[in-house]
C-alpha cells in the first residue's frame, strides 16, 4: 500500500506541473486585461503604466518562472516562518504572489476566505450526505413505494433546478415576504454567545439548505442504486435465511457494502467544497473562495486566478488518491500491490 501511494504521489508531480503550465498559458492567452474594468475616464497611457507596474510587460516564460518560484519556494517558506515563528533568510525581500486588484499576498486572502467557504459549503455537503443516505436506503428498500416516488421526485427537482433559481426563490420567500432570514451573509459576524450563535444559524440556513438540496439530490440517487445492486445478491438471502433480523441485514450487511462506491463518490467530491459554490456564494454574498475566484476572473486578476485554480488542481489530485486508497481499505477484495 505504501509503495502504491508513493508511486501515485510521484506521478502527481509531473501532472501538477503540466496543469500549472496549462493554467498559466490559458490565462495568458485569454483576451483579458486587469485594467479592463476601470472607468473609461482613465486614459490609455495610464493603463499602460498600471500594466507595467504589475509586471505584465515581461515575457511569458519569465512570468511563469517567477510564479513557480513564488508558489513552490517563497510561499511555503513563508508558511513555515509563520507557523513556527522563525526567519529563514531575508524574508522581507522575498517576493510573494500578489493579487493585482488588492496588491496583497494571494495566500493571505485565500486563508481569510477559507472559514466562510468551509462552514457554508462544507456544512451543506455534510447536511447533503445526512439527507441523502437515509433517503437512498429507504427508497431502495421500499422500491416503487410512495416514499421512493417522492424521493425520486425531490431529487430530480434538486438536481435539475439550478441553485441560482432555488436561492432566489428562498430569498424572495424568507427574506422579502416573510422577513425571517437575512439575504446577505455577514462574514465578520463572530459567535460569542447563544444570541450571536442564533444569528449565525439564521444567516447560514438559506445558503446551506439550497446547496444541501443540490448535493443530496445527486448522492441519494447514487445511494439508492448502490443499495438496489446489493439487495438482490446471494449474501443477503443467506443472511436472511440465517434468521438475522431485517434491521441487521439492511443496516449492517447491505448498507456497509453499498457504502463502498458512495464513500468514494463523497471523497471525490470534497475538493468541490474548497472551490466553493460560485453561484450560491454570489447570491447570498457569502464571499468565500467561489466568489473570490469569480471576482478575480472578471477583473483579470491573473495571479489570484492562477493560484486558486492550481490549489484546486492539487486538491483534486490529492482526493483522487485518497478515494482510491479508501476504496482499498473498505473493500478487502481490492489489493494494490
Amino acid at each position: 500500500m505504501i509503495r502504491y501511494i508513493t508511486r501515485r504521489l510521484m506521478f502527481a508531480v509531473p501532472t501538477l506541473i503540466a496543469i500549472s503550465f496549462a493554467i498559466f498559458a490559458l490565462l495568458d492567452l485569454a483576451p483579458n486585461d486587469p485594467t479592463g474594468q476601470l472607468p473609461l475616464t482613465i486614459p490609455p497611457e495610464v493603463r499602460a503604466q498600471i500594466r507595467e507596474s504589475l509586471g505584465l510587460d515581461q515575457p511569458f516564460h519569465l512570468r511563469y518562472a517567477k510564479w513557480m518560484e513564488q508558489f513552490f519556494v517563497n510561499e511555503p517558506l513563508n508558511l513555515i516562518e509563520e507557523a513556527f515563528d522563525v526567519e529563514i533568510g531575508d524574508s522581507s525581500t522575498r517576493p510573494r504572489i500578489r493579487s493585482w486588484a488588492t496588491r496583497s499576498p494571494v495566500v493571505d486572502i485565500i486563508a481569510e476566505r477559507l472559514p466562510q467557504t468551509l462552514w457554508v459549503v462544507g456544512l451543506s455537503y455534510v447536511v447533503g450526505i445526512l439527507i441523502a443516505v437515509p433517503i437512498g436506503v429507504i427508497s431502495a428498500y421500499r422500491q416503487y413505494s410512495w416514499f421512493d416516488q417522492i424521493g425520486t421526485f425531490v431529487s430530480m427537482v434538486g438536481f435539475s433546478v439550478p441553485t441560482f433559481f432555488t436561492g432566489l426563490l428562498a430569498i424572495i420567500l424568507f427574506s422579502v415576504m416573510l422577513q425571517w432570514l437575512p439575504s446577505i451573509y455577514d462574514t465578520t459576524h463572530e459567535v460569542t454567545d447563544l444570541t450571536s450563535f442564533w444569528v449565525q444559524v439564521k444567516q447560514m440556513l438559506m445558503p446551506v439548505m439550497v446547496l444541501a438540496l443540490y448535493n443530496a439530490a445527486q448522492l441519494s440517487r447514487f445511494m439508492r442504486s448502490a443499495m438496489l445492486d446489493n439487495l438482490n445478491l446471494d449474501y443477503v438471502r443467506t443472511a436472511r435465511s440465517k434468521g438475522l433480523r431485517e434491521r441487521a441485514v439492511l443496516l449492517i450487511h447491505v448498507l456497509r457494502n453499498s457504502m463502498i462506491p458512495v464513500v468514494t463518490m463523497i471523497a471525490l467530491g470534497v475538493p468541490t467544497i474548497f472551490s466553493g459554490a460560485i453561484i450560491t456564494e454570489q447570491i447570498f454574498r457569502v464571499n468565500g473562495l467561489g466568489q473570490l475566484l469569480i471576482v478575480a476572473i472578471q477583473g483579470a486578476d491573473i495571479p489570484l486566478v492562477q493560484t486558486l485554480t492550481f490549489l484546486f488542481a492539487v486538491l483534486i489530485v490529492l482526493f483522487n488518491l485518497i478515494a482510491d486508497v479508501l476504496y482499498g481499505i473498505l473493500d478487502p477484495r481490492i489489493r494494490y500491490d
Binding site: 486585461d33 490609455p44 495610464v46 493603463r47 496583497s104 437575512p182 462574514t187 471576482v295 481499505i329
Partner: protein, 573 residues
C-alpha cells in the same frame, strides 16, 4: 490499519485549521442599532487606496477615510475640504501665466492618529502618484504637473509644464486624496505594491477610519474622533459590504430593508419600480456627464484589409459608406431615443443630443432636434444621396450595400437597445448585424485581441463614457485627429471613431489656453456641436448614476461629479 491510512486526511484537516485561523480583530456589533450605517456596493472593494486602483468602488470606499483638498458638490461646483478656499485668478491663487496654482490649507486639521495635517503631506501625495514606477491610476489628474511643493506648513504650490486654464486636476475630487506622509513614506515607486497594511488601512482626515478590511468582501469603519467638524459624523460605525449583483443590492435596501444605502443600481426600470413599491426606501438619481453613445467608424473595417483594418492611415482608408455624411445623418434621424430610454433606463435616463450634456456652462442647446425621430427625413436623405433600396430592401450604391456590424459589451440593457436600433435602421433600409463582447474583453486593452473597443473591427459600436470632474478639456482633446488608435500608439488612441475635423483640432488648441469664463464655455459647446453634427458619435441617452437609500437615512445628497459618499459626515437618521 485504519488509523495509518487516516494520517493524510488528518494532515490536511490540520492544514485547513491552520489556514482557517481567523486573523481579524473582533468587530463588536454596535449597541445602538440606529447609529450604525450599512452600505452595500455590489462590486466588492479590493483596496482602500484610489491611487492603486482606479475602480469607482475602491475610490468611494476610500473617500470615507482620506480626503482631497476640494470636492465637487452635487451641482458640479467646488467646495473646499482640506483647503481653506478655492484658489482662482481673482484671489491670486492661480498665477497670471496659468502655470501654477497655490492652495492655502486649513490649519487645524488632524490625522486620525492625532498628528497634524500639513502641506508636506500634500507634496508627498503628489510625489507618490507622479512616481513612474508606481503605476498610479490617478495620473491623469496630475497631467502636466512638474512639481508639488510645500511652501510652508499650510501652503502648497503646484506648477505645470504648460499653461493650465483649468488647474483643478490634482487633489480636487475623490480620485486624488491626500495620504499621510508618515504612513506611506516607504511606499514610493515599486514599493507601493508591497505596502499592504497601508493600502488596506490608510490613515486619513475624513469622518471615518478603517477598523477591519477584508479584500473583495467587506470594510468595517468607525467614526474618526478627531474629525475637524464637531459632532460629526453622526454615525458611530459603518459597514461597507460588497458582492452580488445590482438587482439584489437594490432589493436589500428597497425590499428587505437590511441595508441603508446601495450603489450603482443599473436594473431594468420596471424591476426597480416594483421594489420601490415595497415602500422601504427611495431611488436616488444623479445626472453627471455619462452619455451612452454610438461610435461611427470613419475608417474601413473590412476584414479583407488585414493589418490595415480600421486604421486611419492619414485619411486614405475611409469607410465605404459611413464616410458619407448623409448615411451618418440618416442613422441618427432614424433612432427613436425616447423608446430606448423607456425600455432600458426609465427615470435613470434622458434622451440627449449632446456628448457633453452637463454641466450647464458646457451643455449645448444647438442639437435638440434629434430628440424627435424622423425616419421619413432619413429615407429622403438616403434617396437623395443615391442609396437605392435593392430587392432585399437593403439600400446600396455602386455595389456597396448599407450593411452595418454593430457591437457593444454584453449587458442585458445594451442588448435590448441594440435590438431596438436594429429595427429602426432596418426600417430605413440599412441592414444591421448585432454582436456583443464580454465587457472585460471589450474594454480590456489587450493589443493582441481583435475584440477591443479600441480596435473597433466593426462599423458602429456603443458604450457609455463620461469625463472626470466638471471640465471637458481633456475629454475633448481625446478626439483630435492625431489620437486615432493604431499600431503607432499600441492602439491606445482615444479618438475611437477616427473622425477628423480641422476646425475641431484648432478649437481644442484654443480651449487649452482659455481660462474659465464665457469664451471657454463657447468653445466647449462648439466642440460638442462639431462632433455631434458630423455624427462621428451619435449620442443616445444621458445616463444617471442610480443609487438607493432607506427611508430612515437622511442627509444624502446624490453627487454625480464626485464620490457619492462625499458628504457622509452629514448623513444621519
Amino acid at each position: 490499519m485504519n488509523l495509518r491510512h487516516a494520517t493524510p486526511v488528518l494532515a490536511i484537516s490540520a492544514l485547513m485549521a491552520a489556514c482557517a485561523d481567523d486573523p481579524e480583530p473582533v468587530f463588536e456589533a454596535p449597541e445602538e442599532e440606529n447609529r450604525h450605517l450599512n452600505i452595500l456596493y455590489w462590486q466588492a472593494v479590493s483596496i482602500v487606496n484610489p491611487y492603486l486602483s482606479g475602480g469607482t468602488k475602491d475610490i468611494e470606499a476610500a473617500s470615507m477615510v482620506i480626503e482631497p483638498l476640494a470636492h465637487y458638490d452635487e451641482n458640479g461646483g467646488m467646495t473646499p475640504v482640506l483647503a481653506a478656499e478655492i484658489p482662482t485668478l481673482e484671489n491670486g491663487g492661480v498665477a497670471e501665466d496659468l502655470r501654477s496654482i497655490t492652495w492655502k490649507l486649513k490649519t487645524d486639521v488632524l490625522w486620525s492618529d492625532g498628528t497634524p495635517f500639513t502641506a508636506h503631506d500634500v507634496a508627498f501625495s503628489g510625489a507618490y502618484c507622479l512616481d513612474e514606477q508606481a503605476g498610479c491610476a490617478s495620473l491623469a489628474s496630475f497631467a502636466d504637473v512638474t512639481a508639488v511643493e510645500a511652501i510652508d506648513d499650510h501652503t502648497v504650490r503646484i506648477t505645470f509644464q504648460v499653461a493650465k486654464p483649468w488647474p483643478y486636476g490634482p487633489f480636487v475630487g475623490s480620485l486624488s486624496p491626500i495620504i499621510q506622509r508618515e504612513q506611506f513614506q516607504d511606499c514610493l515607486g515599486t514599493r507601493a505594491q508591497e505596502c499592504t497594511e497601508q493600502n488596506f488601512g490608510p490613515i486619513g482626515t475624513g469622518p471615518f477610519k478603517v477598523d477591519d478590511f477584508r479584500a473583495n468582501d467587506v470594510i468595517n469603519y468607525s467614526a474618526n474622533e478627531l474629525y475637524r467638524e464637531p459632532g460629526k459624523p453622526w454615525f458611530r460605525t459603518a459597514t461597507f459590504k460588497g458582492g452580488g449583483d445590482a438587482a439584489s443590492a437594490a432589493r436589500a435596501v428597497l425590499e428587505t430593508g437590511e441595508y441603508d444605502y446601495a450603489w450603482n443600481l443599473q436594473v431594468e426600470p420596471e424591476v426597480l419600480e416594483q421594489m420601490v413599491a415595497a415602500g422601504k426606501g427611495q431611488v436616488l438619481m444623479g445626472f453627471g456627464s455619462q452619455v451612452e453613445r454610438l461610435m461611427v467608424n470613419q475608417t474601413n473595417d473590412d476584414s479583407n484589409l488585414g493589418d490595415r483594418r480600421s486604421l486611419y492611415l492619414d485619411g486614405t482608408n475611409a469607410h465605404p459608406f459611413l464616410s458619407d455624411p448623409a448615411v451618418r445623418r440618416a442613422l441618427s434621424l432614424a433612432i427613436d431615443r425616447q423608446v430606448l430610454v423607456d425600455t432600458g433606463y426609465g427615470a435613470a435616463g434622458r434622451t440627449t443630443c449632446n456628448i457633453v450634456p452637463a454641466p450647464v456652462p458646457y451643455a449645448s442647446v444647438a442639437n435638440e432636434a434629434c430628440k424627435i425621430p424622423d425616419p421619413a427625413e432619413a429615407n429622403r436623405i438616403l434617396d437623395q444621396a443615391g442609396w437605392v433600396r435593392g430587392q432585399d430592401g437593403v439600400r446600396a450604391k455602386d455595389g456597396v450595400r448599407l450593411s452595418i456590424l454593430y457591437q457593444t459589451s454584453t449587458n442585458s440593457v445594451r442588448q435590448g437597445t441594440q435590438a431596438l436600433i436594429k429595427q429602426m435602421w432596418e426600417a430605413i433600409g440599412i441592414e444591421t448585424e448585432l454582436r456583443n463582447i464580454d465587457a472585460a474583453v471589450f474594454f480590456g486593452a489587450d493589443p493582441a485581441s481583435p475584440d477591443t473597443f479600441q480596435k473597433f473591427y466593426a462599423d458602429v459600436q456603443m458604450y457609455t463614457n463620461n469625463f472626470q470632474g466638471t471640465d471637458p478639456e481633456v475629454y475633448m482633446a481625446g478626439w483630435v485627429c492625431a489620437r486615432n488608435p493604431g499600431p503607432h500608439n499600441q492602439w491606445l488612441g482615444t479618438n475611437i471613431p477616427r473622425g477628423c475635423s480641422d476646425e475641431f483640432d484648432a478649437l481644442v488648441e484654443e480651449l487649452s489656453i482659455t481660462p474659465p469664463g464665457e469664451d471657454r464655455s463657447r468653445i466647449g459647446k462648439r466642440l460638442n456641436d462639431i462632433i455631434v453634427q458630423e455624427q462621428f458619435m451619435i449620442p443616445l441617452i444621458w445616463r444617471a448614476a442610480v443609487s438607493a437609500r432607506s427611508n430612515s437615512l437622511k442627509g444624502v445628497r446624490m453627487n454625480p461629479w464626485d464620490s457619492e459618499l462625499w458628504n457622509i459626515a452629514d448623513w444621519h437618521r
